[in-house]
Amino acid sequence: MVALLAVPLVLSPGLVNAAIQMLIAALFASAFNLLCGQAGMLSFGHAAYFGVGAFATVHAMNALGGAGLLPTPILPLAGAVGGLGIGLIAGWFATKRTGTYFAMITLAIAELLHALAPHLKGLFGGEAGVSAMRMPALGLTFGSTTQVYYLTLLWVLASVVLLYLYTLTPMGRLTLGLRENGHRLRFLGYDTHKVSVLVFAISGMFSGVAGGLQVINNEAANYVLFDPGLSAAVVLNTYIGGVKAFLGPALGASLMTFFGYAISDVTQSWLLYQGVLFVLVMMFMPAGLAGLLGAARALRDRHGTGALLPVLVLAAAAALLLTAGTAFVVEMLQRIFSQDYRALAGANAAAPWPPVKLLGRSWPPATLTTWLAPASAVAFGAALAWLARRRLHALERRRERDASGAESTTTAEVAGGAV
């Protein structure tokens, strides 16, 4: 909390801007997870509600000759209304079906908006989009990134708190019932279609707030907001964070947004890493990062921090080495297959392939030593992972032995007492 408040004081404006993006992504993922994780409806087109919220906000900013329909601090309300409205309409259709069909309808609705937006110049500003200006209000200019950061933080925190309180209400419990067994709910007297539309609309509303915050930050909105990539990103972020924990999606979204910001400058393969990470999470920890934290806490409670520390160090080192080795190979290949390099190598077919620059060094791609580095990193990493596993198993065994040992001691004592 203090860390969130202190962000603009200690970080550079670039990083503050990244923090704003992280907050917005966290809210968007939390809103999405209301539908996906809590109600069990996987939407593949949530960019639609984010985008409509964004455009509603940009038009609210430009309304009344640029004076703005609402003062800047409450502009995201326009996004909320936009997201809620489109959520009600789209939700009414989409929730007529469940499962795959539901997902397909949400995808189609988002694609419809994405295809339509560039042609509707009045509403979406064509390909160029619509831009706007943050107007001063309440004695604040909203001219600096710092002020925008605090505005975003306030809205994101308030929205996430509201989303959490929602889970404690009758409607929130009903949402879980819908995920678990919508059929039974109908025979308890609930209109499940109405419940679904409401959940959908509320999810759309908070997505709209996130979209509105994005516009306030960027002072522009463009049809690219409806891009399927954004719909996909929120699904990936949510699952990487973990759908079962309330804050999981927010965690996943902020981390992935941060990595996107930090790494996309360094590598062109960011999307590949994102995909690999998603596959790994789904394969090895389907409960996501939140699930990983939960499992780590359970282990600590079982064995104590001291006993667990070597395992954690080993596991972290293994993860680091495996990542480094894989990343090296990916980056090398990416450079070797790049057009520039192909042209360079093809210029003189007789000569060996020229060396590749990576990490400030030159690596000749045709020699064994170049590939020995990542290979040994991966091999060491795998060995460390194996060691970590063994230590963990040893801990488990010792615990079991202690447990049965304690039992036999008490039996002995009882027997001794009897004698």
Binding site: T169, P170, M171, R173, L174, E180, R186, G189, D191, L198
Partner: protein, 250 residues
């Protein structure tokens, strides 16, 4: 006889060209316990699906409390006062036992599309949920995940969920399936107790239970009621013996 609470008139249901229910007539009294028996595939569960709105009849009428309910949605039929359980346990398996029952209690209490107050602050809902838990002897299991209950406990939970809305007509589809003798005896007593002052329709294969609980019994064979009467009349009915009961009762 008083006016019937539930009337089936020439009720029919076809799937494609196959007629599964072939003209069922029945008048259920407001405080009557009425059992459906019959061989597998006779259409007992289908009759329940038609009454509860899970399926729409092809022809015929279902009148509840003076009102046509055939073809209405399950939720509106439930709200009018007809509540049912399912042959295959139909609960919220990943939610706690308490949460399962609370979901059943919330709606009759008028809480559904409500996001302005906290559910755990509602004393009436909590008390009703706890009372139902006690009634089906699940109070010790309140925090257990419903899917981890023993099968018979899940059946009890479903009975409690069915009763939560204080319905006028209760439809129980094989409530004793999978229960031990002791559990069956307890559940039979429970059903007697909780359906006092209500109409009960029961599908059950345990003949001892059927004959001890019911005021009247209907025998359904190939989608037709071949006999309706008191347990005594059914026991002595020659065509029933031939079609279904055989040596089981004799």
């Amino acid at each position: 006889m008083s006016a019937a609470i539930l009337t089936l008139r020439d009720l029919r249901k076809s799937f494609g060209s196959t007629e599964i229910i072939r003209g069922v007539n029945l008048e259920l009294q407001p405080d009557e316990r009425h059992a459906f028996i019959g061989p597998n595939g006779a259409g007992k569960s289908t009759v329940f699906h038609l009454i509860s709105g899970n399926l729409s009849p092809t022809a015929g009428e279902i009148v509840f409390d003076g009102r046509r309910i055939d073809g209405k949605s399950p939720q509106s039929i439930n709200r009018l006062g007809v509540s049912r359980s399912f042959q295959i346990t139909n609960i919220f398996p990943k939610l706690s036992v308490f949460e399962n029952l609370r979901l059943a209690v919330m709606r009759p209490r008028g809480l559904q599309y409500c996001f302005w107050h906290r559910i755990d602050r509602d004393a009436v809902v909590r008390e009703q949920t706890e009372r139902l838990l006690e009634q089906v002897r699940l109070q010790a299991r309140a925090d257990t995940i419903a899917g981890e209950l023993a099968y018979s406990e899940q059946r009890s939970l479903e009975i409690a969920m069915t009763l939560a809305s204080d319905p006028k007509v209760v439809l129980l589809d094989e409530p004793m399936a999978g229960m031990s003798n002791e559990e069956t005896a307890y559940t039979a007593d429970l059903i007697r107790e909780v359906t006092r002052g209500r109409a009960l329709m029961l599908v059950e294969h345990d003949m001892e239970v059927v004959f001890s609980i019911s005021d009247r019994i209907s025998v359904l064979v190939y989608g037709e009621v071949i006999a309706t009467g008191t347990p005594e009349q059914i026991r002595n009915n020659a065509s029933v013996k031939e079609a279904y009961l055989g040596e089981e009762i004799a």
